[in-house]
């Protein structure tokens, strides 16, 4: 065993933190509501994100009811339908996935996994959640505003986003949407500073970057990306607010509306698309990278095998993060861009498939000849690999300009991005909740309900999105309220749409069972103990479960090894925790604690 640890003792956090440095809650309010403890903030973030996510789930039911059974539901007018798809998309991408991965899992796991007492700026961290909550409330308020929420599509393309023909365009809807997004970005920036600086500065002794679990790598890189990408959305939102409120013409060209010339002139809708997708494409990886990281840890732990190609996994995460900033225009192939421009972006898009494919191979090779436990987290992790590969392959279709042009704005695109950045990351979120719920509560989630949840969700997701590819290939456009009597829409296509809708309702119901399980197991779940999965990372080595404030008792752990020492030959157990000094003996101070 080579001893290659660095000798430098630079800026190591002290093993013991003086009592005064830790924030101590004084009352019920400061302990559970206005808490500065990252773990409480994590649960607040997750609860809010899941709650607003359920709204988006209901919206998706309504969308599918209209698509599957057009003309049956009178209350789903074309305006309402546009509002549903807009809010469904925006909530799922920004307010659920981003908030849950970074605000939820980031807050809970980063300090525990790197061996810190808390985030480095706890007060700012608390503010981050409250600003996020405010953003969600402003978003919800738009449902009750006169004219309802905006129906501009989740991409909010001008000029239609702020013209009177679009629901909410000349009413409060679009204003509340933009205000909510700006609040979200401000709140996220506060949290993001915490996640990045905590990883940089608050790692415990021995936790070098290359010993960090891939979960932390994924969340860290995604946060850096989000900090640099969200300003683009912010800029787009401010400029659109100016156009809408002050009558500037950043994005608005000269327009005639209902026979009247509008005051606008000279602006560029394409400028908005550039700004939006400069945020929008990194956003895909902001959601995907934490999922990549978490799923690596789930697979390694539940296959009792070290992750295959750890270094390559780290490089791939960093490489994907950097590359994702120069692929944005592949969302704009049909915007009339220069063909050479499109060629450049098609090339970068295909290059980014290389590190992504490396990761997929490494997950599969980690499973290869592993001691695979088909526990719930593992089932969801495998489900992720399958759906992600599926969505990734259709990404190759859409990344090529010539194939994208006919497929653009069809249901094929909808199926592609739901598979790759909807279903796949959600699979990881479920797997991660089944995996870390015991640490958060001290109890296991119910296995039977979990099995039901997994199989219905996994098979159901395929039942929804696999046929949807075909619907798109036939030529059914997205964002259409009703297909009408087009010749290419056959009877069988209508029944396929109905089938998809029924599958969507069933999958939605499975999520209700999952929600029930979360509450039921809180009380009746099996006691889990501190480390039910026999995992190596530091969050499982805390003296208390759930960890109390300060995380690690009197002494911070010292890290002696990387996060993936499973099935080490000759070791006393089939896993060696990161703070296990085997084959040496623990120093006296460690042994005493």
């Amino acid at each position: 065993m080579a001893d290659a640890t660095p000798q430098a003792v630079d800026n190591i956090p002290p093993a013991e933190v003086p009592e005064v440095e830790l924030y101590h809650p004084k009352s019920w309010w400061t302990k559970y509501v206005f808490s500065q403890d990252a773990k409480v903030i994590a649960i607040q973030y997750s609860g809010t994100a899941i709650a607003i996510g359920l709204v988006a789930l209901v919206l998706s039911w309504l969308i599918r009811l209209q698509l599957g059974f057009p003309g049956t539901f009178d209350f789903i007018t074309p305006e309402a339908y546009y509002q549903f798809i807009t809010m469904h998309g925006m909530i799922m991408v920004v307010y659920l996935l981003t908030a849950l991965f970074l605000g939820g899992f980031g807050n809970y796991l980063i300090p525990l996994m790197v061996g810190a007492r808390d985030m480095v700026f706890p007060y700012v961290n608390m503010l981050s959640f409250w600003v996020y909550l405010l953003a969600v409330l402003v978003l919800v308020a738009s449902f009750f505003a006169p004219g309802g929420p905006t129906g501009a599509g989740w991409t909010l393309y001008p000029p239609q986003a702020i013209t009177s023909g679009t629901p909410g365009g000349q009413q409060a809807g679009i204003l509340l949407m933009l205000a909510s997004l700006m609040l979200f970005i401000v709140g996220f920036t506060m949290g993001g500073l915490n996640y990045v600086v905590t990883v940089l500065q608050a790692r415990t002794r021995g936790m070098t970057l290359m010993r960090m679990p891939l979960t932390v790598w994924g969340i860290f890189t995604a946060t850096v990306m989000a900090l640099l990408a969200f300003p683009a959305l912010f800029v787009a939102c401010v400029m659109m607010l100016f156009d809408r409120l002050l009558g500037t013409s950043f994005f608005m060209p000269a327009l005639v509306e209902f026979g009247e010339q509008l005051e606008y002139g000279g602006g560029s809708p394409i400028l908005f698309q550039h700004l939006f997708w400069f945020f929008g494409h990194p956003e895909v990886y902001i959601v995907a990278l934490p999922a990549f990281g978490i799923v690596s840890d789930l697979i390694s732990t539940h296959a009792r095998k070290n992750i295959f190609g750890y270094r390559m996994m780290v490089w791939a995460i960093v490489g994907i993060g950097a590359l994702s900033f120069i692929v944005w225009a592949h969302h704009m192939y049909v915007s009339g861009m220069d063909p050479y421009f499109g060629f450049f972006f098609a090339t970068t898009t295909l290059i980014i498939a290389v590190p992504t494919a490396i990761k997929v191979y490494n997950w599969v090779l980690t499973l290869w000849r592993g001691d695979i436990h088909l526990s719930l987290p593992m089932l969801f992790a495998i489900g992720f690999i399958v759906t992600f590969v599926n969505g990734g392959l259709t990404g190759l279709f859409l990344g090529n300009v010539v194939v994208d042009v006919p497929l653009s704005d069809t249901m094929f695109v909808v199926a592609h991005f739901h598979m790759v950045m909807g279903v796949a990351p959600i699979m990881v979120i479920f797997g991660a909740i089944y995996h870390w719920y015991p640490k958060m509560t001290g109890r296991m989630l119910n296995e039977a309900m979990g099995q039901f949840h997994f199989w219905v969700t996994f098979v159901g997701a395929y039942a929804i999105f696999f046929p949807m590819h075909y619907v798109g290939l036939v030529g059914v456009p997205r964002r259409y309220h009703e297909l009408g009597d087009a010749t290419f829409v056959t009877d069988s296509l209508h029944s396929l749409n109905a089938f998809i809708s029924v599958a969507a309702l069933i999958v939605g119901f499975a999520q209700v069972v999952f929600m029930f399980n979360l509450f039921w197991s809180l009380r009746y779940g099996k006691e889990s103990g501190g480390n039910p999965w026999r995992a190596t990372t530091l969050e499982w080595q805390t003296p208390e479960t759930p960890p109390i404030h300060g995380n690690f008792g009197k002494d911070l752990p010292i890290v002696y090894r990387w996060a993936y020492d499973y099935s080490v030959p000759d070791a006393p157990d089939d896993y060696l925790a990161q703070n296990d000094p085997w084959p040496q003996k623990a120093p006296a101070s460690e042994a005493a604690s």
Partner: protein, 234 residues
């Protein structure tokens, strides 16, 4: 998006330089730390607040770089007319430079433990920054009186937008500066006060840099640069 990409390239270069010193080629599966030694984490040898400010400035930089990108892209349209800068902007620039100098002097005073000088420098810096902000309001009014309205010239819209966002950042900085000034009312130069002063000064210098770029951009000095970039892209 050329300005944003240039900014990103700088960030990537810094991040890459830092990552290159993090032993990314090490083989963690072969390493086991010796229990007798406390292995380092190779964290940056600076307080978390300074690292935090650095990360925050990267975010602010991205924000302004994107505004600049939008400015360049909007410039290409035929209704564009370069703005005649109101004279007071030059006065404001002077005030901001003085403010930055005062805060730099405050840093020196804090390092030498001279409390009285520190207080004076902090107040001078804050006063100059307030003068800058008042001057900016006057600049907006001067442009409005010249007959520029939001709808008439996109360059004017950008002037209001970008200097407005810069002004908001200055107000935020003034709040932080006020907190530091309150701390300086105590009896001695504490570690916390010194760090706070340094953070304010760094933030001020950065906002000055952003301001200089904004002025160069709005005065049209960067138009040739934009032309070169456009030729590179096409």
């Amino acid at each position: 998006m050329i300005a944003a990409l240039i900014f990103l390239a700088i960030v990537v270069a810094i991040a890459g330089w830092w990552l290159s010193r993090q032993r990314l080629f090490s083989k963690p599966w072969l390493e086991t730390g010796n229990a007798g030694l406390a292995p380092g984490t190779e964290a940056i040898n600076q307080p978390a607040s300074k690292v935090g400010l650095g990360v925050f400035l990267a975010v602010v930089g991205a924000l302004f770089a994107l505004f600049f990108s939008a400015y360049f892209m909007r410039m290409e349209f035929p209704d564009w007319r370069t703005l005649a800068m109101p004279r007071i902007v030059w006065f404001n620039t002077g005030a901001l430079v003085l403010s930055s100098i005062a805060l730099q002097m405050a840093v020196v005073a804090a390092r030498r433990g001279r409390l009285q000088a520190l207080r004076q420098d902090l107040l001078a810096g804050a006063a100059a920054a307030v003068i800058f902000l008042v001057g900016q309001v006057l600049a907006w009014r001067a442009l409005a009186e010249l007959g520029y309205f939001a709808t008439s010239n996109p360059a004017y819209s950008f002037f209001v937008l970008i200097t407005g966002v810069h002004g908001l950042h200055m107000i935020g900085g003034l709040i932080a500066l006020a907190r530091t000034a309150v701390q300086s009312a105590g009896g001695e130069v504490t570690e916390r006060l010194r760090t706070g002063t340094e953070l304010c000064a760094t933030y001020w210098h950065f906002m000055l840099l952003v301001w200089v770029i904004i002025v160069a951009l709005l005065a049209g000095w960067l138009n040739e640069f934009a032309d070169i970039c456009r030729q590179l892209l096409v």
